[in-house]
């Protein structure tokens, strides 16, 4: 699904990613964890071209997104993204947020888009909020709408950039539950998260980033019980 080869990213003189190579197979769920500043969010944002790679190549479904000729908008239609701070469109209702891209990008009719939108709202448990504006929602509700908005484009994979980090503790579960149900549908997912319990429970694979490199790439069982590197042991000792 996604192939990354020699990916480096620098912001001015600050090199955030250092020659990362990995693959994310179809249907797999990869949790990207690591200390803050390790480059995990930047790595995720490179996967849909929100950050331009300084060096290296990324292929999504065989198409190279790092090529200057790449049609990024087209590629992004197939990659949903959920942000830490939701980024719902405040001047649109919940339903309009969800139907905006299907109508504007895919050219769906309003009726079709709204039908799908209502179904998705039902899935994330927010049917009654269809006509509310984002400012009236709680953080957990906003994030569930953001997930529905991304799913409305019927993406082949989903990127989650710390989806629960901005939430009050009591709202984390409702968002994680929605993500779990999404995993059961076989969706390919890359999740940057600080929720170790969640990563352990749902991920097929853990990528542990530190200092801009993948320090460990292992199954959750192996990673959480017997991490090989000192840095990962250190990190786990602090967070668990």
């Amino acid at each position: 699904m996604i192939k990354v080869k020699g990916l480096s990213k620098s912001f001015k003189k600050n090199q955030v990613l250092k020659s990362i190579s990995t693959e994310i197979g179809e249907g797999s769920v990869v949790a990207v964890i690591g200390p803050s500043g390790s480059g995990k969010s930047t790595f995720l944002r490179c996967l849909n071209g929100l950050e331009t790679a300084t060096e290296g190549n990324i292929w999504v479904s065989g198409e190279e997104i790092t090529s200057p000729k790449a049609n990024l908008a087209k590629i992004r239609e197939n990659i949903g993204m959920v942000f830490q701070h939701f980024h719902l469109f405040p001047h649109m209702t919940v339903l309009e947020n969800i139907t905006f891209a299907p109508i504007q990008v895919k050219g769906k009719s309003k009726q079709d888009a709204e039908k799908i939108g209502q179904e998705l709202l039902a899935k994330v448990g927010l049917s009654e909020k269809a006509n509310a504006y984002p400012s009236s929602l709680s953080g957990g509700q906003k994030q569930r709408v953001a997930i529905a908005r991304a799913l409305a484009m019927e993406p082949k994979m989903m990127l989650f950039d710390e989806p629960t980090s901005a939430l009050d503790p009591e709202m984390v579960k409702e968002v994680l539950d929605v993500m779990k149900s999404l995993i059961h549908t076989g969706m390919t997912m890359a999740i940057v998260t600080h929720e170790m319990g969640f990563a352990k429970e749902v991920a097929d694979r853990i990528l542990f980033l530190d200092g801009g490199v993948i320090v460990e790439d292992a199954t959750p069982e192996v990673f959480f019980s017997s991490p090989k590197s000192a840095r990962a042991q250190d990190f786990l000792a602090k967070v668990l």
Partner: protein, 221 residues
């Protein structure tokens, strides 16, 4: 001394007729200014250095010189140099528009930059093309935020339009001056002019507040 409005009364209709001129040049100038301002602000935020430079230069010159000088240059010098005579009416609209465009550009640019970067990122991640991100996501939010500043600019333009009397345009100010000169009494026609400008500004501000309240509906929690 004291006031004597009796001699003003016959001239009131003459002065009031100036409202039409003032209003249409202000509305025309503001519309042109908004258009120029939008184009300039898009040039300013574009990654193209040349476009950015041209827009920055334009803004700097038109904000850095008096409107009255721009007006005179546009009206008299344009005719001298090129023979193009736009007439009082269109010269006034053009001068107000060109000048106001520079101010609107800065207002709009600030409004666009004030919209959270996450908004365009979220739209980009959905595959929305740039033109639609600007038109349907960024600009609606930017315009809502800058509406008070735009209204402010409109009222300023209404008041500043009084200087077009310098080229002989028959606006409220010019007509009041003429009446004053004819009667050798300026106090009453000027008071009337002040009252008319004040009412116009109040009307514009209240329309602005009304629109603002309309747009605020998505803020209700």
């Amino acid at each position: 001394m004291g006031f004597d409005f009796s001699r003003l009364v016959p001239s009131i209709p003459f002065i009031l007729e100036g409202i039409w001129f003032t209003l249409t040049v202000v509305v025309g100038g503001a519309a042109l200014g908004l258009l120029i301002g939008m184009i300039l602000s898009f040039m300013r935020i574009s990654k193209n250095r040349v476009l950015d430079g041209i827009a920055a230069g334009y803004t700097s010159i038109f904000r850095g010189t008096p409107l009255i000088v721009q007006l005179v240059l546009l009206y008299y010098v344009l005719i001298d140099l090129t023979g193009i005579d736009l007439g009082l009416y269109w010269s006034t609209i053009l001068a107000l528009g060109l000048n106001s465009g520079a101010y609107m550009a800065e207002i709009i640019r600030a409004g666009i930059l004030a919209v959270d970067k996450g908004q365009s990122e979220a739209a980009m991640a959905l595959g929305v093309p740039y033109s639609k991100i600007m038109g349907k996501i960024i600009m609606p939010q930017a315009l809502k935020n800058i509406l008070p500043a735009i209204i402010n600019e409109l009222t300023a333009l209404t008041k500043e339009s009084a200087i077009v009397n310098i080229i002989g345009a028959q606006d409220i100010m010019r007509r009041s001056m003429l009446v004053g000169m004819r009667n050798f009494r300026f106090i009453e026609p000027m008071l009337l002019a002040a009252a008319i400008y004040y009412v116009l500004v109040m009307i514009i501000s209240s329309i602005g507040k009304l629109v603002e309240r309309r747009l605020a509906k998505s803020d209700q929690s």
